[in-house]
Structures are given as C-alpha cells and as structure tokens.
C-alpha cells in the first residue's frame, strides 16, 4: 500500500463556489426526473418512502381505532369486516414493500454509499434511476389496486384465497389482486437492480487504499443486504408471476382441484420473505454501527465481527423460511431443522448488539437525536429478537402462531429495529443531505414520544398474544379489552410523535441553521465533502484512513462542527 498524505487544506475537494451543490446543479423538474445523480435519486426515494410510511400509518391508525371496541369501532358488522381485512393487508403491504425494503437502501444508501466510498456515483447510474421508476410504478399499481377493488388476502397472499377472491368495488373488474401482485413484482425488480448496483459499486469503485476491511460498516451492511436482494427477490418474482397466472389463466399449480398444492405457494413465498426481513434489518444495523461509534466518540468495537456477522445473517437467513410454516403440515424433521437454524440466525445479531454495547463502554456518549434513536433500537431490537427465539421454539410456536405475539415480535424488530434505525439515519445524515440542522430538542422529544408510544402499542400485544388473541381479527373477546385499549392509545401517541418529527424536519428545510461540514465528528468519508455535496462529490478522491479513527477531529466553535486538528499529523499508512 502506498503512503497517502492527505491534503489538509483541501481534503475532500477543491473549494467550490458557495452555493453550488447537487441541489442547485441543474434546475427545473426535468433535471430531477431525468437525473442520474445518486444523491437526487436518494432524495426522491426519501420523499417517496416517507410518504408511503404515512400512508401505511393511516391504515395502522384505522386498525387501531377499529380495535378500541371489542365489537369493532369502525366496521361493526359482517358485511363490513372485509374492509378491516383490507386495512391490515394494505398496512402490511405498503409498509413492507414500499417502506421497509426499499427505505434505507434506496433513500440513505443511494445518497451515502458512493460518497462514503469517495466515488463520484454508483456503478450504473441509469439503472439506479430505473430502480426508482420501478418503485414509483409499483407503488402506483398498488394504489390502483386499492382503488379498483381492495385487497384483503393479507400481505402474504396465501392461496387458495388469493386465487379465488374477486372483490370488485367499483365494477371495474375483479383484478385488484393482480394489480397489487404485479405492483409488488415491479417493486421486486427495483430492489434487485438496486442490490446489483450496490454490489458492483463496492467491488469496483473503492478508492485506492480502501480495502474491504477499511470500509465503514454501513457499507458492509448494505453489501450483505444487496446479496440478499439479488438472490432472494427473483424467487418472489416467480411466485408472484405464478399467482397471477393462477388467477388469470388457472394454471392450477397451487390449486388442489387441478392437482396443485397450496402449501407450495407458502414455501415459495417465504423463501423470499424471510430473507426479506434481513433486507429490512441489516441496513438499520449498519446505521447503528455508524451512529453508536460516532456518538460514543470511540472506535467501533469488533469491526471484523460486525462486518462478517452481516454476511452470516445473510447466508443463514436463507435457510430458515420454514419457521413461518410450523403448523402448516411440514414433517417434524423438517420443522426441527428449521427451528435449529432459526436459533442459529439469532447469533450473529447478538454478536452485533454486544459489539455496540462494548463500543459505548467507556466512550464519551453524546445523546444527540440519532443516538437517542440508536438507544431505542438497542432496547427494542433486543426484545424483538429474543421474542423471535420463543417463536422459533417448536412447542411454543404451536400456541403462538398467528396470535398477537407474532404481531408484536415483528413490529419490535421491523419498527423498533428498522424504523428506529431509519430515523436515526435520517437525522444523522440530514445535515449532509439538506445542508441544514434540525432542532435538537424537538428531535429528542419526538424520539421519546415515538418510543413511549411504540412500547405502549406493542408490549401489551405480547401478553394478549400469549393469552390467545388471534391476529387479523376485526373483533375480540372482552377479556382482551385492556390490552387493546393500551395498544390503541400508544398508536395515537406515536402519531403525535411522528407528526412532530415531520414538522420540525420540514421546518428545518426552510428555517434551520446552516449545517457545518462535519457536525457529528465522524471519520467516514461522507463528512469530508462539502455540505451539501457538490454534483460529483469529490474532485479528487479523498484520503482513506480508518473510518472510525476520530482522534484527529476536534470541535471547531466557529463553524459549529468538527474539523481536522491542524496541529496533528495524520497517520502514515503502509
């Protein structure tokens, strides 16, 4: 390796004229619609994903409002319970396919990955834009499905109901399920192309001196995610095509009347959808590594363990899909194998949690908003992960399958894990993306409101699930009333928290103070470039060092951010 002497005065780029950044480079709506700039694509993803999050949240509020009353507060009779089915179907489908799967890779990964690598763009910029168009098309088709008929199969589209249902609201034909399923198919390809793009970018666009083990851990997480996206999503693709063929042509592959097998659909579906949950969580874990190290002002502990555990999660995650199907007729031997592998997949996640805690130990903790969300993540993801072990235990799962325990488990990992990670990441990179600082106090209040609301919503669900409350039911027995009331109150508290968060973030766009280049003092490369970044990120590739060595960064009161200590020489690398 050559000796790299960074240019202290201009590390990260030549000074550009003030105000010329990726947001101002090119004006007009066409410059956004046809952009090839990964940063703009990332911003468009962010806006779309957050919009989808609010849409999914509306469905959630309807669900929780319905369940205030044991006999149903909104949909009160048999004729209308169908609409409740639509609510939980659409809540699940929108949140999973429009928010959680594309969210962090599309919105934050797109923006941050090339800059963290010191590169000018991703490997295939046009494919990147194509991914975004596919996302929008898939989203529009899903919305069309809602309008045309509504889908009430559950987001899992289990056969035979998903084949035979023909809800037809507006007399426009009974094809809502086909629209939604094809929309998800397009979203799947959006995911595949993003994964391909990121893998090739990390293989081919690392700067001189950045070996694999000198990459920030967020990139390792994105890499593992991309592997899963590329390998698992095509199986969802064929499953959805088969479902459409089954509905339109009656190919019979899942229909016992024609010699098919409905459980085959479940195997195909979960072969993708289990790895999909790792697509959702791995990027959030990557953000954790960045945020916790930065706000402990300490080198990440156990870098290689965290990096390789991401890969381990990706690999083992392909082998556990049967744990969604324990009571569905598998052989006991098969179920036992899946159960054992489910226990195994928990281990790399636990390794990460221990390493993050060790990073914080004796660190200099600064509870800025991203760190608040990170602390929330640690608490909530631990609960979610541990309850997954209960569900992975065969004998216990017999009682817990399809109860609210499962609902609570996956909300703890997907919301308490991925969404907290996403929010941490949004706040962490907000200054770099927008060039503005948000209000720290309001940020923390928002985090606390969401945290409290979340726990109030979902912790009671563990209890009522273990007492037998089934999931996806529009009404319930009176004995579950206290839990449901707490749960619904929590949902309203979360709503307030999210509205507050949206308010101060939007406010910061217009009135927020200008952000310094490196407000948090992180040593990763995206903080070396200007804030907001110029159109092509770096004029010259920045110097590559240890991404977690923050020792050379000192607080500069004048700019309100961190700068390289002018009194210290950088480490010479061999």
């Amino acid at each position: 390796m050559t000796t790299i002497t960074p240019d202290l005065a201009h590390s990260g780029g030549v000074p550009v004229s003030a105000g010329d950044n990726y947001l101002t480079h090119g004006r007009g709506i066409a410059s956004w619609i046809f952009t090839l700039d990964h940063k703009r694509i990332g911003v468009m993803y962010l806006v779309s994903v957050l919009s989808a999050f609010f849409l999914g949240g509306i469905f959630a509020m309807v669900i929780r409002t319905q369940l205030i009353n044991p006999n149903g507060a909104i949909f009160t009779d048999q004729a209308h319970f169908r609409y409740y089915n639509e609510m939980f179907t659409l809540h699940g489908a929108v949140m999973i396919f429009l928010v959680l799967i594309p969210g962090i890779p599309g919105a934050l990964g797109n923006f941050v990955l090339p800059i963290m690598l010191g590169a000018k763009d991703v490997a295939f910029p046009r494919l990147n834009l194509g991914s975004y168009y596919l996302y929008v098309s898939g989203a529009l088709l899903a919305i069309l499905a809602i309008v045309v008929g509504g889908v009430e199969t559950g987001w899992t589209f289990y056969t035979p109901y998903s084949v035979t249902t023909d809800v037809d609201k507006l007399g426009l034909g009974k094809h809502a399920v086909e629209f939604m399923v094809f929309g998800v198919f397009l979203l799947g390809f959006s995911s595949i192309f993003t994964g391909m793009n990121f893998i090739v970018t990390m293989h081919k666009l690392r700067p001189p001196g950045m070996t694999w083990f000198r990459m920030p851990l967020f990139l390792w997480a994105i890499y593992a995610t991309s592997i899963i996206q590329v390998l698992a999503t095509p199986v969802l693709g064929i499953t959805l095509l088969l479902l459409i063929a089954e509905r339109t042509l009656k190919v019979g592959i899942f229909n016992p009347a024609y010699g098919g097998d409905p459980v085959l659909f479940q195997h195909f579906f979960w072969f993708y959808s289990h790895p999909a949950v790792y697509i959702m969580i791995l990027p959030a874990m990557g953000i954790m590594s960045e945020v916790i190290a930065t706000f402990s002002r300490k080198h990440i502990f156990g870098y290689k363990f965290i990096a390789l555990s991401s890969i381990a999660i990706a690999i083992i995650g392909f082998l556990v899909w049967g744990h969604h199907m324990f009571p569905n007729g598998q052989s006991t031997m098969l179920a036992t194998i899946f159960s054992f592998l489910t226990m195994a997949v928990a281990i790399p996640s636990a390794i990460k949690v221990w390493n993050w805690l060790a990073t914080m130990y004796r660190g200099s903790i600064d509870l800025k908003t991203p760190m608040c969300y990170a602390m929330g993540f640690l608490f909530l993801f631990a609960i979610g992960g541990l309850t997954g072990v209960f569900l992975g235990t065969l004998s216990v799962d017999v009682h817990l399958h399809d109860t609210y325990f499962v609902v609570a488990h996956f909300h703890y990992v997907m919301f308490g894990g991925t969404m907290m990670g996403f929010l941490a990441g949004i706040h962490y990179w907000w200054p770099k993306i927008t060039g503005k600082m948000y209000n720290e106090t309001l940020g923390r209040i928002g985090c606390v409101l969401v945290f409290i609301g979340f726990n109030l919503t979902f912790f009671p669900q563990f209890i009522m699930g273990s007492h037998g409350m089934p999931r996806r039911y529009a009404t319930y027995l009176p004995e579950f009333y206290p839990y449901h009331i707490m749960s619904s109150m929590g949902a309203y508290i979360q709503l307030i928290g999210f509205l507050l968060t949206a308010a101060y973030l939007v406010h910061s766009l217009f009135k927020g103070p200008k952000a310094p280049r490196n407000p948090w003092g992180s040593a990763t490369l995206e903080w070396v470039c200007q804030t907001p970044p110029p159109h092509d990120n770096f004029k010259t590739p920045p110097a590559v060092g240890d991404p977690y060595d923050m020792s050379m960064l000192v607080w500069d009161e004048r700019t309100g951010g961190y700068v390289r200590d002018p009194n210290r020489q950088p480490q010479v690398e061999h």
Partner: protein, 303 residues
C-alpha cells in the same frame, strides 16, 4: 483521479472516451463493472426460473406417472430442433462477440442477424407446438380438455367412427373418481369401452401405435402407454406452459435486445476499444440457451 484516456480518434470506430462514463477512471474498470453487473443479473434470472424447476421437481417426485404419461404428448423431434437451433445461435452470438472485439463490423452484423434469425426459428417452432396443443385441447390445467391421446390418437381411433359421435370425452376439471378400467380411456367417460386387445389395450389403439412405431426412426423406443390414464395430467401441462412460456418471453426479449445491438453495430459503435454491450448481451443469450438445455430433457425426454 479521473483520467480521460487521450486516444487518437480512429476513423473506423468510435473512441472509447465517448463511452466512458464520468464516474469511471478507465474503460477496463467500466467493462469489468459491467461484466460483474450482467453476471449478477443473470444469477437473478436463474433464480427466477428456479422456482419453476422447484415446482417441477416437487410434482414429478410426488407424481412420476403424470410426467411419464403426459410428456408423450410432446414432440421431441421439434424439441430437438429447437435445441440445435439455440445452441447454434449461441455459437453465432459468441462469434459475434469475437467479431466485435476484432472490429469486424460486417461480420458482426451478419452474425447478430443469424442469431436473431435462429431466435425467430425457435419461436416459430414453439408457435407450431403451442398451436398443436391448442388444437388437441392439451393446455394448462384450467383449460385442459384433451380430445386426443398421446401420439395424436383421436377418439375415433379408439371408439371407431360410429362410436365417435356417442363418445364424448369428458375430462372434468375436478378429478373424477378413478375407476378401474382396461386400457387407455377417457376418464369419467360413460361410453362403452372399445374392444380390448392384447395387454388390455384397445385393439384399434394398439394397431395405430404399432403402425406409428414402424414409421418412426429406430431411436424412438417409447413404450406405448399401457396403464390407465393418470389423474391430474393437466399439472404437467401447467408446468410445461409456465416453463416454456417464461423461457419464450425471455427469448423474445433477447431478440429485441439483439436487434437493438445489431442496429448499434451497423452504425459502427463497436470495436476493440468498446464492445461491452455485445459481450453482455451475448452472456444473456447464453443463459437463455442454457435454460432451454435443461428444459428440453426435463420436459421432452422423460423415461
């Protein structure tokens, strides 16, 4: 450091700097990245088909008799023609890549044209096969109403000309209860069975089969079907149409892309410095070919 290669502009082909995107340092870096990218995409294509191969394996393992019976409806000679055609087209495609590397524009365009034509031949044969299936009524499960037996044996052959009008082949979509019967007969049919011949087969059917065997070449050693018609044979055709249909869509897509590459080649865009698209499209075409090489024995050559 961004280095734009300073090459003298050669009159026969475009210089590489026209094709070097701004975020790459060298053309080789761009080519390597594109290569990795197309291999990743092809992996996803294999995985897309893998679901269908999985369905095939599961159903064949559980119901081998369905596959052993129903595949007799397929014409393996047409399948073999398609196999040869695709393998040949892979040769012309690979040769085309070489021509692009050597800057042989006319040869490249010719070879791409031949590849395209082979794809067309493949689709025509496929059309013939599908049309046959449609006329015989052997479509996928929901539309499965066969009025012939394997080998093109019609109900007239089985029941005789007089009995044909009375013999209404019924193969209801729902599985009828399997009655014990002698020889091949339409399931659930209530008509009188044809007179039994040797080995329990209908005499007329045996005669026709023997005559057919004499006409075929010596390679055909298929035993005529001697047992009852298995239940749920429609599943085979569902899988057949899904697999060959998805494959056919990929052939069409490949033909469209090859056509586009041919257009660009005829404009002289490719040469030793830049032949990336030809290379990558060639790889896609090889994968399409290889999928067929698996489909052919699995569907047509079942023993």
């Amino acid at each position: 450091m961004t280095t734009v290669a300073q090459e003298s502009h050669e009159p026969h082909e475009h210089g590489n700097e026209e094709h070097l995107a701004h975020h790459w340092d060298t053309p080789k870096q761009q080519f390597d990245a594109g290569k990795l990218g197309i291999w990743l995409f092809l992996t996803t294509e294999i995985l897309l088909f893998s679901g269908l191969f999985c369905a095939y394996s599961v159903y064949r393992a559980n119901h081998p008799e369905v596959f052993e019976y129903a595949h007799l409806y397929l014409n393996k000679w047409l399948g073999a023609v398609n196999t040869i055609v695709l393998i040949f087209s892979s040769l012309t495609m690979a040769w085309g890549v070489r021509a692009a590397q050597l800057g042989q524009k006319k040869l490249l365009v010719t070879l791409l044209g031949i590849t395209l034509a082979c794809g067309g031949v493949f689709m025509c044969v496929k059309f013939v096969e599908y049309k046959d299936k449609w006329s015989h009524g052997t479509l996928w499960a929901g539309e499965y109403h066969p009025h012939v037996l394997p080998g093109g044996v019609t109900k007239a052959d089985v029941f005789g000309p007089g009995g044909a009008a009375a013999a209404t082949p019924t193969l209801p979509n729902a599985p009828a209860t399997q009655k014990a019967f002698d020889g091949p007969i339409f399931e659930g049919s209530t008509v009188a069975r044809a007179p039994a011949g040797p080995a329990g087969l209908s005499a007329a059917w045996v005669e026709k089969e023997s005559a057919r065997e004499e006409h075929l070449s010596v390679r055909d050693t298929e035993r005529p079907w001697t047992g009852p018609v298995p239940k749920n044979t429609q599943i085979f055709f569902s899988i057949y149409f899904l697999m060959t249909g998805l494959h056919g869509l990929h052939v069409l897509a490949g033909m469209a892309v090859i056509g586009w590459i041919m257009l660009r080649a005829s404009r002289g865009e490719f040469g030793p410095k830049y032949f990336n698209p030809v290379d990558f499209v060639g790889l896609y075409w090889h994968v399409v070919d290889i999928v067929w090489i698996f489909l052919f024995p699995l569907l047509y050559l079942i023993h």
